[in-house]
Symmetry: C2
Subunit: 354 residues, 2 copies
């Protein structure tokens, strides 16, 4: 980040016609975005583009979710038809939606517009073997980088992460545990809604996968305290072992956005766990990352704390698709808009605090 | 609220292509808005209009704030010139801003567009005498009702509260204490930013005003626990004793929106304390009220808890003007947009959870 542009933004916030600090989190955000852009005020983060990366998961065979695997492909068709929640939200805030098949198992006849970047038709079962090879993981990261680059080349000035993948909260939990050292019990959640018995089983599956790949940390089971992070030493290997193709692509998307100095708004736990991968590869990429929201998944809070990111929206969402990121977009835009447009005490002839 | 329309919305939320309950707070909100409108899906809450009610306060003479009183009028001019944060935010989300002088003391030569509904040039000092007469309070309420009615007649389908008034967090604290029974110490905050000594003095002023008008509740000083609410028996009398002209107008604005069955998004503690007045007069008006955000003012949390409203945005804002309400607007719109546009499992051919 550019310290001088950030300092200029901080200074301007202090001269704007409002009590100092009264915009709270949005003041800090505007300063970060000025630092990212290297200029104050930074460009308005619009137009904005959501990229929904879709993939399937071999661990589905372990019974971690009540949803059939074919729902991933069916929802891809739903996105392309404009029928999903992310479409409705994106329409409301004026963002485009790009759907990327990076690893879907089976795809019904889908509408136009799908970006076919399929690396493989679903990952392998992480409890048995690595979910991906290193080459597959790297190829999926490169998909994400390329999508980010292309969306910025098309004129977008804000990127938003989206995802679709039945069972992908299981992979997310494993990634969060591996990159933070947290216990499986502290990061595995109900996802799209599983009962208590399935949640116990799902937690056990995450724990088994971590053990299988030598990724068990030393943090105590209680709470979100994190210890050594066994997955951080070789991020690609960890991603390949327990991640998903959409996680890999989203990690690349974050790296790509950062390379373009364009903000990338993270959605929920899928994005949070993917950002852990990106940050392990290149910590500076977090300069571009904005936490759109906090989902109800416990692993998401652990990931955000580890990343040092403050979520903008906290409405008990647990849908994914990019919905939480899209809801945060107007807040991000408003923070920059204020920095650009608001008068100063001098220019408006308003008397300052005595 | 219309129970049948609300039930239809609840049913539709369960059939939409997403896990049941996964939109969290926004599902409940869409159900409330269907009940308010009496039809499912309800109309999209757009176009949207912010009304900024401005007034001055006699209690300013007691030294409760470091800001000079003339800043109220100067900021009115700033709103009209489009230079304030509420203008920037409203531009970003596509809302209009209407500025209403309901009680400003002195007004510099201002730009076009001011609604002159001045009832009196600032309230009296509540520590000495009632801030308003009953007639003045009622007239200011009627200003708010009329502004709401006119904005809806002009086609607006969402109303947002805004306020400007140096020292108006002092009046808000007194109103919250009077209508919830909370102690002055639990509801008085730093407002636009006062030091610890001024905060102690401000709290003492609020306590003195409550005692002066027989409005001291029986809640313990600690926390936000509320007891009997001495101000609820005669809401107009209470409002006149310790409220502000902008508080009265905002109470009327909430009543007017409810009468039109149009949602009204509340900003911070000024709106929260005003909504307590409106709810004491006509509890059903809360069907129309949406808590836009939670500010850092302690009295705001107490008011929201008493009103039973869940804030949508929580970003440590403490600016007022309507800024928190404006930031919440896209979230309110998105909740309705989803209910209107999202496909059902049947219509999209997506398999349901097993």
């Amino acid at each position: 980040a550019d310290a001088e542009a950030a300092a200029q933004a901080r200074d301007r916030q202090a001269r704007m016609t409002k009590p100092a600090g009264s915009l709270g989190v949005l003041e800090d955000l505007s300063v970060r975005l000025a630092g990212l852009a290297g200029v104050c005020p930074p460009p308005l983060p619009e137009p904005a583009a959501v990229a929904v990366f879709a993939g399937d998961h071999g661990v589905h065979a372990q019974g971690v979710t009540p949803w059939p695997q074919e729902v991933t492909g069916q929802m891809v068709a739903n996105f392309l038809a404009g029928g999903a929640v992310v479409n409705a939200f994106a329409t409301q805030v004026g963002a485009s939606v790009t759907v990327v098949d990076v690893g879907v198992g089976t795809l019904p006849p889908a509408g136009d517009g799908l970006l076919d970047r399929n690396i493989r038709r679903g990952t392998r079962d992480m409890t048995v073997e690595p979910a991906m090879t290193r080459d597959e993981a790297v190829a999926a990261i490169e998909v994400g980088i390329a999508v980010a680059r292309d969306l910025v080349a098309a004129g977008n000035r804000a990127l938003l992460t989206g995802d679709m993948g039945i069972a992908n909260t299981t992979a997310s939990a494993a990634l969060v545990a591996a990159f933070t050292g947290a216990d499986a019990g502290a990061v595995t959640g109900a996802g799209t809604g599983v009962d208590a018995e399935t949640l116990r089983h799902k937690t056990d599956i995450v724990r088994r996968a971590l053990a299988r790949h030598g990724l068990v940390g030393d943090a105590p089971a209680a709470g979100s305290a994190t210890g050594t992070a066994p997955g951080a030493a070789d991020p690609i290997e960890t991603l390949a072992a327990v991640g998903g193709l959409e996680h890999a692509a989203i990690a690349g998307f974050v790296l790509g956005a950062a390379a373009e100095r364009v903000p990338v708004i993270l959605d929920g736990v899928i994005a949070g766990s993917s950002a852990l991968v990106a940050a392990a590869l290149a910590p500076a990429c977090l300069d571009a990352a904005v936490a759109g929201h906090r989902s109800t998944e416990p692993g998401h809070g652990v990931a955000l704390a580890h990343l040092g990111l403050t979520p903008l929206v906290d409405l008990s969402l647990r849908l994914g698709e990019g919905t939480g990121a899209v809801l945060a977009l107007p807040l991000v835009q408003a923070s920059v808009r204020a920095l650009r447009d608001v008068a100063t005490f001098d220019s408006a002839g308003v008397t300052e605090k005595q």
